[in-house]
């Protein structure tokens, strides 16, 4: 049995403490923390841009930032949040830390590649900071041609390069996960004994591997066209701006699934643990993840219903978009059914997880409205779309990220976080989020287009409400920074398994030793063997408790 408290045992944090031992580490757990530092920094960069955007929109004239600065701010917000926070968020931190632990491995398959991924990520981050400091980009994160290539006088090449290099980091990390999950599972860890978080990371990695190269080629062509005018998207030479949109959305729609699939995985860990009940319909949950990742590749055209694609293409893409919503709906029903006859406690991770399900459901249902062709014609490129995807990406992914962070915090740091503060932050996040983004659905249907630095004065009330909500949200996102930081120094020491959970990651000490397990575990059980009647549980390596 593993050590109960931190004590004198060597952990991955304590066995070496030089700077080089961090910067040259091949330990997946340390690399997870390195990534955590990087993406947290970018989260606040993107958040600062969001703050300015909301401040600017308090007043209809938009004089605070003015057109040029505002355009740069929403572009920066989009690029930083999408590629430097949301896409890497759960995979590179929680995924990196937990995948080997959950499958009973000592590390990822390619530890050097894992470290290289962090360096590449930071190089792309430096390029991003360069274009931000040098004067920004005003194309929107979508880089639509021919504006981005022939008309914009901003730092398009640097931005495209940042995204291009960032893609290598995505691919390296995803490749590592896919290969690791295929080859390094502990004895007895069959595919259908994998925790759903592993399934989520696996599905997202497959999407990353197949979609990111297309984005890489697309932004490369953007950079070449902007720099040298090679003409590939230039209508004057016969180039087709719609081809760009097809290539871009072929990546960028699946990118939404890259963001949400790991979040679904996190929710599927949290809800059974705090409901003390096996997850409802395990195999359905796993198949749904895979189905989403595959069907997600055939819906990109729903971003282009009004862009001039053929009516036939519009109908086909609308149909596929409804089909891809089916597995998501199944997941929502299964999470809800997992609460049935459970023994539910409301610790902070569970509050975040329930918030995730609620906000994701809202985002998904409004997504159905957008998939409906005729409604989309009215609300596409308005705040309705903005609200919809923030419900998925922020309400969904970020809530799940915070939920997962709290849940595994004792494992990662060996310390317990202050529960009351964390519950407060979770509730505040949910409230602040809804106050910020719900009014944007209404603004959208009223016809306020996105990317407007100024707007008609009769829409001011909703915008002020949204900005007020954003300030609540900002507080809710800043709170964990303080109390989690506090817990690092003064938090109570965590036991190996503070949540009485069943996964292999809880079968080693908190924090784990450098090589994860003293002995490779032997897996004999399906995940989530909780019993709600008496609170007992069976871990995946077959130890019955309580």
């Amino acid at each position: 049995m593993s050590a109960i408290a931190g004590g004198p045992a060597e952990t991955y944090l304590s066995h070496e403490s030089t700077i080089a031992s961090w910067l040259l580490t091949r330990d997946h757990k340390r690399i997870a923390l390195l990534f955590f530092a990087s993406i947290t920094a970018f989260f606040f960069v993107g958040g600062a841009a969001a703050t300015l955007i909301r401040l600017n929109l308090v007043e209809p004239s938009g004089q605070l930032l003015g057109a040029d600065l505002y355009n740069r701010m929403f572009t920066m917000h989009g690029i930083v949040m999408v590629w430097f926070f949301l896409i890497p968020s759960i995979p590179t931190t929680l995924g990196n830390f937990l995948i080997p632990l959950m499958i009973g491995a000592r590390d990822l398959a390619f530890p050097r590649l894992n470290l290289a991924s962090w360096y590449v990520f930071n190089i792309s981050g430096m390029i991003a900071l360069y274009f931000i400091i040098a004067g920004g980009v005003d194309t929107g994160w979508t880089f639509y041609t021919p504006y981005s290539t022939l008309f914009s006088n901003s730092h398009v090449i640097a931005a495209a390069l940042a995204v291009f290099v960032n893609g290598f980091s995505s691919i390296m990390t995803a490749l590592n996960f896919v290969v690791t999950i295929h080859r390094l599972r502990a004895p007895g860890m069959t595919w259908f004994r994998l925790p759903l978080f592993v399934w989520g990371i696996y599905a997202t990695s497959v999407v990353m591997l197949l979609a990111t190269p297309v984005l890489a080629m697309t932004v490369l062509l953007i950079a070449l066209e902007h720099g040298f005018g090679i003409g590939i998207f230039d209508p004057a030479l016969g180039g087709d701006p719609l081809l760009f949109q097809h290539m871009f959305w072929f990546y960028s729609h699946p990118a939404v699934y890259i963001m949400i699939l790991p979040a679904m995985g996190v929710a599927s860990e949290l809800i059974p643990c705090f409901a003390r009940r096996p997850v409802f319909g395990y195999s359905g949950m796993a198949y749904a993840l895979i189905a989403i990742s595959i069907i997600g590749f055939f819906v990109w055209g729903h971003h282009m219903f009004t862009a001039g694609i053929s009516v036939f293409a519009g109908v086909v893409f609308s149909f596929m978009s409804f089909i891809v919503a089916v597995p998501s709906a199944i997941k929502v029903f299964n999470w809800t059914a997992t609460l049935h006859r459970g023994s539910i406690s409301f610790d902070a991770p569970m509050l975040y997880a329930l918030g995730f399900v609620g906000l994701f459901t809202m985002g998904g249902l409004t997504g159905l409205m957008l998939a409906t062709l005729s409604i989309d014609v009215h609300v596409t490129d308005t705040y309705f779309v903005i609200a919809h995807f923030h419900y998925i990406m922020v309400g969904g992914t970020v809530s799940a990220f915070f939920g997962g962070l709290h849940y595994w915090w004792p494992k990662i740091t060996g310390r317990l976080y202050p529960e009351m503060w964390a519950r407060g932050a979770a509730i505040l996040t949910f409230l602040g989020f809804n106050v910020t983004f719900f009014p944007q659905f209404i603004l959208g249907y009223l016809g306020m287009p996105r990317r407007y630095f100024s707007y008609s004065p009769d829409l001011q009330a909703w915008n002020v409400l949204s900005s007020a909500g954003a300030s609540i949200l900002a507080v809710a996102y800043l709170m964990p920074l303080f109390y989690l930081g506090w817990s690092l120094l003064w938090g109570e020491r965590a036991s190996a398994n503070p949540w009485h959970a069943t996964g292999l990651e809880w079968r080693t000490s908190s924090p784990p030793p450098e090589r994860n397990f003293a002995l490779t575990p032997l897996v004999t059980q399906a995940p989530y063997q909780y019993n709600p009647s008496d609170g007992s549980y069976v871990t995946q390596d077959g130890i019955a408790n309580g």
Partner: protein
């Protein structure tokens, strides 16, 4: 022979070898999508502007492209030869085969460079020196844009391959690989064959255009 023990995250050397191969296959899948996106775009335009593309394609250097096909196919042969030699512990011969592979790679780049110079003299280089032929219209330039992006990116891949082959030739020479452990050479061979195959696709897409009938 430190490399005869697997790295600590693997149980056996076999597991490590299989994992490395799977890793390369997955990487090559991403590469297929990377080149696939470009070739897809190329064919979209080729279908939209058939006359202009045929007319522009006539100026592509068919002979030089064909020579490069021969060079790369031969280099794949020497690459496989190197692997077989390592498997049979014929290390000096394996090093020679690897050096031949790298040499053929350089030969390819040489021919490609010569072709670029010829293209320049024929005024088919957008930006630097481009003149539309009398019967051509603007989209003919698109053909050449794709030509340079595609062959350029392929050349970058090949250069990385040459560097890797030289590196592993040096490692082979210093006795790191043998019939007991040759996984890196095998994985390197996968990459090399892929770069070779990409050229076959590019050749088929670019050079025969305007020559059928």
């Amino acid at each position: 022979m430190a490399s005869l023990r697997p790295e600590m995250q693997y149980a056996t050397l076999d597991q490590q070898t299989e994992t490395a191969q799977l890793g390369m296959w997955v990487f090559l899948a991403t590469e297929v999508l990377f080149f696939g996106a470009l070739i897809f775009g190329y064919y979209i335009y080729r279908i939209s502007y058939p006359d202009e593309f045929v007319s522009a394609g006539r100026d592509a250097k068919f002979l030089l492209g064909s020579i490069n096909v021969a060079i790369l196919v031969t280099s794949s042969l020497t690459m496989v030869g190197a692997l077989e030699c390592v498997k049979r512990d014929m290390i000096p011969r394996a090093v020679a085969a690897l050096l031949a592979t790298a040499g053929l790679g350089f030969a390819f780049l040489g021919v490609k460079g010569y072709e670029y110079v010829q293209d320049y003299h024929d005024h088919t280089v957008p930006l630097l020196s481009f003149v539309l032929k009398p019967d051509q219209h603007a989209p003919a330039e698109l053909f050449w844009a794709f030509y340079y992006v595609a062959t350029g990116i392929h050349a970058v891949h090949l250069s990385i391959g040459i560097g890797a082959v030289l590196f592993y030739a040096w490692r082979t020479r210093s006795g790191r690989y043998s019939s007991l452990y040759y996984s890196p050479i095998e994985v390197l061979g996968l990459y090399w064959s892929f770069v070779d195959t990409v050229w076959l696709f590019l050749f088929a897409a670019i050079y025969p255009l305007g020559r059928a009938g």
